[in-house]
Amino acid sequence: MTEIMPHQNAIDCQNLWKIFGARADEALVAAKNGEVDKDEALKRFSCVIGVADASFSVAEGEILCIMGLSGSGKSTIIRHVNRLIEPTDGQILIEGRDVMGLNPKELRQLRARKIGMVFQHMALWPHKSIADNVAFGLEVQKTPKGQQRAAAESALEKVGLGGWSDRYPDQLSGGMQQRVGLARAMAADPDILLMDEPFSALDPLIRKDLQDEFLKLSREVKKTTLFITHDLDEAMKMGDRIAIMKDGRIDQTGTPESIVLRPETDYVSRFVSSISTLKYISASEIMTPGKAKSGAPEFGASTPLPVLLAAFTEGAEELAITDGETHLGRISSTDILQAVQTDLKRV
C-alpha cells in the first residue's frame, strides 16, 4: 500500500518528542496534554524535555537551518535523523522511510552511505591519519582499499586540503580540522549532510571563509543539509529556510525574509530585532498605490531594497513597480527613507 510519493522530502520529521529520564512516558502524556512545561516536567517527573512536538521537513537539495540558544534541543533533534538517539514519540522519515523501521544493518548502511555528519568539535580520530579519518565511512562498508583512498583524496581536494592525506589531526589548525570533518562527511557522497554547529568553535574570520566555501560547495553538489547554529546571522546566511527553536519547541519556520519581516511569536521578534530588515525588504512591501510618472524606471515587485536604493542614487526621482505589463504601484524617495527610518527605530 505504501506507494512512493513523487515529491517526497529528503527529511521529514513529524511531531517528534524526546524526553530524557526514567519516567519519560508519564511526562510525555502530561506534556502532550499541556499539563507541564519544561520546568514543571523536571520538577514533577525528574525528566528533561529535550524536544517537544517538533515537525519540519527538508526538501531535496535544500539547506534548513535550525537556530536556537544553547540547550534548546538542536543537537537532540539532529541526532534523531540518523537515529543516534531514539524518539520518545513521533517519526523521522528519510526519503519516505521510517528510520525506526530499519534493522541494525540497514541503519549502519544509512549512516555510512546516505548521511554524512559534521560535529561542533570536529571529532576527528587522533589515532588515524587524515586520509583514514576521511575514508572511515567507506572503510566500515568494506569498500576496496584503492577506492577508499581515491574517494578520500578527492574529498580532501574539494575542501582545499589535497596533499594532507598522511598527516594527523593534531598537526592541523582548527579551521583545517573542520575542513577534514567536512571532507569526511562528503567522502561517501551521501545525499544528506547533518551539521551540528560545524563552525561555532572557529575564529570569526575562519568561520566566514568556511561558510562561504561551504555555500559554494553546496551549490555545486546540491546536498540536502540540516544545519544547526546558535548564531542568527549564520542562520540567515546559510539557510534556504530557518527553524527557530525555544525550549525544545520549534517556534517558527520560514525563509530568512519571512522570519525577519514577519516574526510570529514574541520570542522570534525579540531574536530578530537585532537584525536589520533593509536587506530583506522588497519593493512590494514599501510601494504605494498609484501610477508613477511616465519615464520612471521600472522594477518587479520582488526587487530588494538595496537595488531600489541604487536606482535613486543614480538619479531617479520615482520608481514604477510593475509585473511586466500592469502597474502595481510606485515608490518615491520618501518611501525609501521611511523604510530606513522604521528599521533604525526597531533596532
Binding site: 549502519r108 549512516r111 560535529f119 571529532a123 580520530w125
Partner: protein, 289 residues
Amino acid sequence: MDPLLNPFDYFTVPFGAWAEAGLDYVVSVSRPTLLAAKVPVQAFLEFVQDALRATPPTIGIAVIVVLGYLLSGWRLALTGLVCLTLIGLMGAWQAAMTTLSIVIAAVVICVVIGLPLGVLAARSDRFFKYLRPLLDLMQTIPSFVYLVPVVMLFGIGDTPGVIVTCFFAVTPLIRLTNLGIRGVREDLVEAARAFGASETRILIGTQLPLARATILAGLNQTVLLSLSMAVVASMISVAGLGRMVLEGIGRLDFGSATVGGIGIVLTAIVVDRYVQALGAATPRDRAGG
C-alpha cells in the same frame, strides 16, 4: 576479677576450626571444577617455562636488546643488556627465568580475564556498580592473605602460584580499562557510530586505541604486582628468585638471599622499563621511525 579484664584467656570462638570445616566443604564440593580450572593454567605455564628455559641466555639477551631498541632506543636496550647480564653473572639466570615465566603466564591470564571485565564495566553502569566493591576489597587485602584460600583450594606449587598472582594483580587492569574507555571523548565515539560503525568496531577501532595509554598504565601496574606476588608466592613453594631469598634466609645463607634479592630488583627494572616503553610509543611514532 581476672575473667573480666582478660576475657580472651577464658573464652574464644573456634573460628579456625570453622574456617577449616567451611573450606573443607567448599573444596569437597568444588574439587573437580577447581582441578579443571587448574589444567589450562598449568599447561600454559609449562609452555612458557619450557620456552624460557630452553632459550640460551645469549639469545635471550639479544632478543631483549633488539626489542628495547625497537620499542624506545639505545638507552632501553642498554638497560636490558646490563640487567640481564648481571643476573646471569650472579648465577641467578635459571631462577630469574622461572620467576619471569610465572609473571608472564599470570599477566597473560590477567589480560585475557581483566580486559573483557574492564570493557564490560565501562559499558554497563550496573555491572560496574556490583564489581566496584569487589575490586576495592581485592585491592585492600595484602598479598600474604591471598595465599591461604588459594593453597586450600588449589594446593601448593607453581600453578597455584600463577593463580594467586592473577587474583592479586588483575585489579588495576580492570580498573584502568574501565576508566580509560569511559574517558574516551564522547563525540569521537558518536562520530564512529554516525559513520556506520558497529558496536564491536567502535570498541576495537575507536575506544580501545584511544584508551590505550590508560590501559597500558593499568597493565604496567598489573605486571609489577605480578612480580611482587610471584616472589611472595615462594611461601607456597613457588620456584624462582623468591625461593632463593626465602631459603637463603632460612639457612642463614645470606649470599644466596642477596643474589635472589638483587635478581628480583634487576628483573623488576627490566620489566617496568619495557612495559612503560610499550605505553609511551604511539603507533604513529613507530610507523614514522
